[in-house]
Amino acid sequence: MHAALPVHNFLVLSAILFAIGTFGVLTRRNAIVIFMCIELMLNAVNLTFIALSHHLGNLDGQVFVFFVMTVAAAEAAVGLALMIAFFRNRESIEVDEINMLKW
């Protein structure tokens, strides 16, 4: 008993979203936009998990999505705190200017 839509549609869509997210992470210079692109990639993976969970009839994939969301929330808290700390030092969050560990 599967839905009328084949699972390939969802998997290809999430591959497209993941590729767009990768492109954004590699080209943008604003740290917050890079962060949002990472969230986009995580969501693409979540869609894969739920599509395959529905396809296989196994609930474990949806529990994994739950954990991915928790990790994303923790990442958001720590990442944004890091950006605020960096902004205090440099008055900017361009990733080109994050070079304090370089000598």
Partner: protein, 167 residues
Amino acid sequence: MQTLFFYLVAAVAVGSALLVVKCKNPVNSALALVNTFFCLAIFYVMLEAPFMAAIQIMVYAGAIMVLIIFVIMLLNLGTETAKRYRHAVAGSAVVAALLLAQAVYFLNRSEPTGMGSDYREAIAQAGGHTEAIGRALFTDFLLPFEITSILLLVAIIGAVVLAKKEI
């Protein structure tokens, strides 16, 4: 009908994902990202996962995006003035296209298989989708669940320490 609806929502999702990458103003990117999250919630409903759709909207479109927009406002980020590096754009486009081609190639090569069962029985037995997920979370996935709580505690302490005035 369902296929048409899928393609419509998929087009909106991909379009707003492109806007996230393209917009010069971070606030516009954030709003486009919220739009993508709503489209994904629609897909979760189509895939018979209503609880996941609810927490997608509450946790992602609600909590995480409010946090991001709050930081954008706090730092008073304007529109990006500097152009992106052209060699970076070209190289990243190649990398992203290769990733997509690889994923689509492997998807079309064979049918996805795995440990299959029928979760509709479990859902009917537990009395609902949310109940079935809760049961799985507190029986099979109890240890990961407890580790997650420690992870969240560490993240909270880390955020407080990092955001303090002097570090």
